[in-house]
């Protein structure tokens, strides 16, 4: 697993660039990751989703799927696509410092 420098800090990532350590992410890192993911401004709406993902992860050891974010988190699916255009599941997970949702296999 490579280690890279993000926002001046040493961060462990996988080959694709996703953070691998839950404990290496904090809210200061999110805007930098958001920039890399092409999400320019993190609004309150974005933060609600990111905080849901962060809170949901530890017990399940698995990033919430888009469907779970909508059904359990109570977010509107169309809204998620507006906030994180194109590939919302991938972008949300990346910005929240979580693994890419597997969708299992």
């Amino acid at each position: 697993m490579p280690t890279t420098r993000i926002g001046g800090r040493a961060i462990d990532v996988n080959d694709e660039g996703f953070l691998t350590e839950y404990s290496q992410w904090d809210e200061n890192l999110a805007p930098i990751l958001a920039g890399y993911a092409g999400v320019e401004d993190l609004t309150d709406e974005h933060w609600k989703v990111l905080r849901f993902l962060r809170a949901d992860y530890p017990a399940r050891k698995e990033t919430a799927t888009l469907r779970r974010v909508a059904s359990v988190g109570g977010f509107d699916m169309k809204e998620l696509f507006r906030l994180f255009p194109g590939k919302p599941a991938k972008k949300m997970a990346y910005i929240a410092g979580l693994p890419k949702p597997k969708g299992c296999v």
Partner: protein
Amino acid sequence: MRRLVILGGGTAGTMVANKLRAAYPPDELHITVVDRDDDHHYQPGYLFLPVGIYSEDKIVRSRHHFIPDGVELVLAEIDRVDAAAKAVHLGDGRSLEYDTLVIATGVEPRPDLTPGADHPDVHHFYDLPHSLALANAMKEFSGGRLIVHLTDMPIKCPVAPLEFTFLADAHFRERKSRKKVEIVYVTPLDGAFTKPIASRELGQMFTERDIRLEPDFAVERVDTEAKELVSYDDRRVPYDLLVSIPLNVGPEYVARSGLGDDMNLVPCDQHTMRSLEHPDIFVLGDGGTLQTSKAGSVAHFSVDVFMENWPYYIAGRELPHKFDGHANCFIETGHGKGMLLDFNYGTQPYTGGFPFPGVGPMTLLGESRSNHLAKLAFRFVYWEFLLRGRPLPFTTDMHLLGKKIEGEASGTANKDLVLGLLKRHPAPPTTTAKAAKPSARKPAARKPSSPQRAGGPKTPAASRQSAGPVPDYVPIVAVDSTADPSTILPDPIIPKF
């Protein structure tokens, strides 16, 4: 006498009933299997019906035929499980008390969960009636745009939509009508498959076959009037013939019992298949949350691990044997050829060869006729060996021998490959299956496990808590990587978005 109730007489449930019956006499272990009907379906066969390779009679047999003597088969709907009282309530008013419960009811296709997808003109092949209806639609289809669409993961047999796409391509080529048919594969994933190397190889096969890939498509609804798939970000894909693999979710009784997550899957340990909530519930087959394929091969390999752990379980000890997520899937690619994927939790499918003792090398992630023949032969293996719990020439642990490794991998390389087939682990110190039985009958032997029972009985409502609502968000202070500073890359790696 221990009372075991197995919910579901499909692949996993039937295998477990056979293996446990063979290992323990009825006066020590009473086994009941519950299913709603007496029809055991060979589910891989559904794939072959629409392209005329199979007929219906090859697919359905009586469940009774595969349930061994000395196992009670109860045909009834399941109303709910009361995990606190350790009882299963059936739809006809009966109740079954258990000491151990195996949930093996799998998942079911639910087109009704996507608006428009339960319209009769929207096809799939995930149950017999729909597969037969699709067979008719394929016969009548004279040309136009065929869409093969995957609603969301996880689904049973995640390679089946790809296989159907390849078989449909071959079907129209053989009928000399391929030029009149445009084939588009629409998926919520960012490629043909979930795992990178397989996705690359399969993507290549799409290109060679003139199949267009429409990735990252999260379907909102099917507009059956306009004949279009509509996504949440308002992309529209028109179709003439639509094959849409529905959402696969666990049965409703799981939700009613407070045992499931948002997909009615029962949260279970990745390595022992034990319920995370209830130590006397195990989830075998597709109905749990194992992060590997929902597939017969996984049911088979994980049941083997369950059997190895059983003597420890009844002795109230920790479960030492760990399932590694091993899956192997044959992929039909059309024209009498097939390919083989072999992977586990830590290792994605690679190209290379699969040393198949007694059968010969199979091609991994590449097409060959032997792979196709093995897939066809598997129906016989399924009915005659697998369900009946007879040994098969596959290993439960995944091996790396013969694989061309790219990137990271975990598995058993080289060692004990052939000998490993016979015995994977040393026998438990005092407990072969038989030796463990006396201790299982001593009440004291079960005592040590009770502190682990998470504070005694739980109500269904309590179990719903961990499967449902999410803890509050608490900000953390991040720590930096402890990697050697000289190895740190100066620039970030940015994923492809």
